[in-house]
Structure formats: C-alpha cells, structure tokens
Symmetry: C2
C-alpha cells in the first residue's frame, strides 16, 4: 500500500483535479484506490457528485475517533472515497493541547485496508490537517501551475517537508512535481518549467498535464475525466502520468 499526499499551499494549482484523475487512472490500470478529502471545503467530495458531504460519515468523525475508517468509505466511480467535513477547520483549536494531534490520520491508516494506493487531497494551507497528511504519507506529489508564484512556494514546501521528516515522519519522500494547466504556447509556462527542471530535475514528472477544458467540466457531472471524456487530452495526460507513477514504484 502506498499513501500519497497531494499538496501545495498555493491555491488553485490542480490538487483536487489531480487527486480525482490520478485515482481514476490508477483504478483503470488495475489498482484498488482510496481517496480521502482533507479540505474543509470538500471540493473533492462535491466534484464526485456528493451533494451534502457534511451530513454523512466523513474523515472528521474518523479523526476524532467517533467512527471507524472503514465505516466512512463510500464507493464512487469504482474508487473508495471518504468525504470531508467543514468541521475540519476546528481541528486546529480542538486539538491544540493534544500530544497526538499530528498522528490522528496515521493511526487510522494501515495495510489491512486492502488498498494499493491511498491519495490524500490537501487544503491550500499548512495547518494541522496538512501536517496530519504529511505525517501519514510515504510520498508527496505537488501539482504546480507553471507561473511566477510556483517557484516561491517550492522553497516553503521544502522547509515544511524537512521539518516533518525530522519531527514526525523520517521516511517521507518528496517524490513528484506535476506540471498542471500547461500550455506550451505560453512563454511564461516554458520559462517556469525550465527553472523547475534546473532545481528539481529528478522530481518533475515528464508527463505534463495540459490546459484542457474537459478537466474543468467533468466535476459538474460528478465524473472523473475517463468517464466524462475518455478521448480528451486530459484523459490521455493523466493516464500517461499514472503509468509513470506505477513505473517509479
């Protein structure tokens, strides 16, 4: 079982879009995948067609010990999903004094669950929720939009990862940067990719996810890109990315 945190504190870089479509791509390639929505905005849950994730079993109840993880898993698009809850924002203050506040998630994820991959969709911030994801995960994937602020965010991310490796999770690996919404006609995109290659050549996946409107449309139908538009650029890109992910194992 491989636990992967999909994170970037910069907003709107394609974390949720990547969680759904990497999950769906790995499922098409024969894996059993669980998605966990750790964003209080529940964007992953809404994008897979749930109308009211707050009023169903969710990851907040599991982290608080009110519910076993397996009772919160629902089947959607052949994947397991544990929805988010708006109450996740309260964890920061609720657990402020708790010794175990960083390992709430790690404690409930174990090998016997029967999944090949568990993907964690993180909110755009570095609070207790993301700390829990980085402590539970073995690997980190970072979706990055190839624009000015992408590089600024990387140094902060590296610092955070090093802190987590030192204090909570020594085996955590910052293994992959995913270039999202890439358009080779834009000089800015090409320039930022060149900088990323200079600093992070071994981490940048060779598959780029191109700008493709079908990826933005699929959530309106509660679908992943493979069920919404299997012949789109988006589907081709995410499938190639999944093949690359599996080869790296």
């Amino acid at each position: 079982m491989k636990i992967i945190a999909i994170t970037n504190q910069k907003g709107g870089t394609g974390k949720t879009t990547s969680t759904i479509n990497i999950g769906a791509g790995l499922t098409r390639l024969g894996n059993r995948v669980l998605l966990i929505d750790l964003d209080p905005q529940a964007n992953l849950s809404f994008s897979l067609g749930l109308n009211d994730p707050a009023n169903m079993p969710n990851i907040y109840m599991v982290l608080k010990g009110e519910l076993a993880l397996t009772s919160a898993v629902i089947e959607i698009n052949n994947m397991g999903l544990i929805p988010a809850s708006p109450q996740l924002v309260n964890l920061e203050t609720e657990m402020a004094g708790d010794q175990n506040k960083a390992i709430l998630l790690k404690k409930v994820l174990d090998d016997r669950l029967g999944f090949d991959y568990i993907l964690l969709d993180c909110p755009p911030s570095y609070g207790l929720i993301t700390l829990n994801a980085l402590t539970a995960a073995q690997e980190i994937f970072v979706p990055v939009q190839a624009e000015f602020l992408a590089l600024q965010g990387m140094s902060k991310l590296l610092e955070t990862v090093q802190n987590v490796q030192r204090e909570h999770n020594p085996t955590l690996e910052f293994s992959g940067i995913i270039a999202t919404r890439y358009d080779q006609r834009r000089v800015l995109n090409r320039e930022v990719i060149d900088s990323l290659l200079e600093h992070f050549r071994d981490k940048l996946f060779t598959t780029f996810i191109h700008e493709n409107i079908a990826l933005a449309e699929a959530p309106s139908f509660g679908q992943d890109i493979f069920s919404y538009r299997p012949d789109s650029n988006g589907a081709r890109d995410y499938l190639a990315l999944c093949q690359e992910i599996m080869e790296r194992r």
Copy 2:
C-alpha cells in the same frame, strides 16, 4: 476611507492579482491606496518585487503590537504596502485564548492614516487571519473563477459573512463578485456566469476580467498590469472595474 477585504476560500481565483491591479487602477484614478498582505505565503509581497518580506517590518509585527502600522508601510508602485510574514500562520494558536483575537487588525486601522482605500489580500482559508480581515473591513469583494466549484464556495462564504455580521461587524457588506479569468468561448464560463447572475445579480460587477497572459507575467517583473503592459486587455479590464468601484461609492 474605504476598507475592502478581497477574499475567497477557494484557491487560485485571482485574489492577489485583483488586490494588486485594483490597487494600481484606483491609484491611477487619483486615489491614495494601501495594500495589506495577509497571506502567510506573502504572494502579494513577492508579486510586487520584494525578495524577503519575512525579514522586514510586516503586518504580523503590527498585529502583535510590536510595531506601529505606519512604520511597516513601504512605498511601491505609488501605493502603500505592508508585507506579510510566514509567522501569520502562528496567530491561530498564539491568540487562541485572547478576547481580542478577532479585532487585532480593526484596532490598528483608522481614518487618520490618510488613505482613500485599504485593500486586504486574504489567504485561501477561513481562519483567524480572514476573520480579522472581515471584522476590519466595510466591504467584501470576492474574485471568482467561473468554473464548477465557484458556486459551491459561495454558500459557505455567505454563511461566514452572516456570522461575522452578527458577532463582530454588523455594517460589513458583501458588495461585489468579480468574474476572473473569463473566456467567453468556454461554455462552462458562460453557464456559471448565468448561475451567478441568477443568485447574485446585484453583486456581480458588470466588468469581467478576461483570461490574459500579461496578468500572469507582470508579477515576474514586480509590476502591476498598468506599468507592465498598459495596452493589454488585463489593464483595460481592471481600469473599467476600478471605475465601476468608484461609481458605486
């Protein structure tokens, strides 16, 4: 003096881009403007050319009472700017028991500062930092990318605003929704705009900000759109939006 919070918990909707370019547009129309970077990632500070905002006077020091607000203001592109600091993330736990935790910002902003507009760039989350911005502000502008998740975020935003109006700031007005990265060729953009008009007709600014690569390039040069490319669509759109903002006073 008008204090405006530019906020949306959804990431990547154009909050920072709008703060910079509304600020610069209002300045071109003869106003004296202060920008305050409330995002611990300091994207606004980086986008205006600062290399190391953490090691200069910043809004965190002001909120903690270590520095007077006027000593933290720097002049950039004819605007006042108070940079952010990564330490802003600590406010949540540092002030957990403090009675005044919601009014830290309100306490330091007053009419004698000599600004016509103060624009607050918020992080993509609803924690203590954004609460301070909503408590200090008279108006809220919400940049929205016209895609699926835009509408989901609105209902949560309205709920938050109503809480703040009830508990901290009765005169707070949710006055404007700004459509950003709009491309009229995309069916999805047109459909989401139609829904926004149905639910929020009186709040949606009639000026849309179109997708325009110059807006994404300008921060690499530490410039606003008017100094980077005054004849671009981005400059035209933001100037028209500023004229609309001034007419609404």
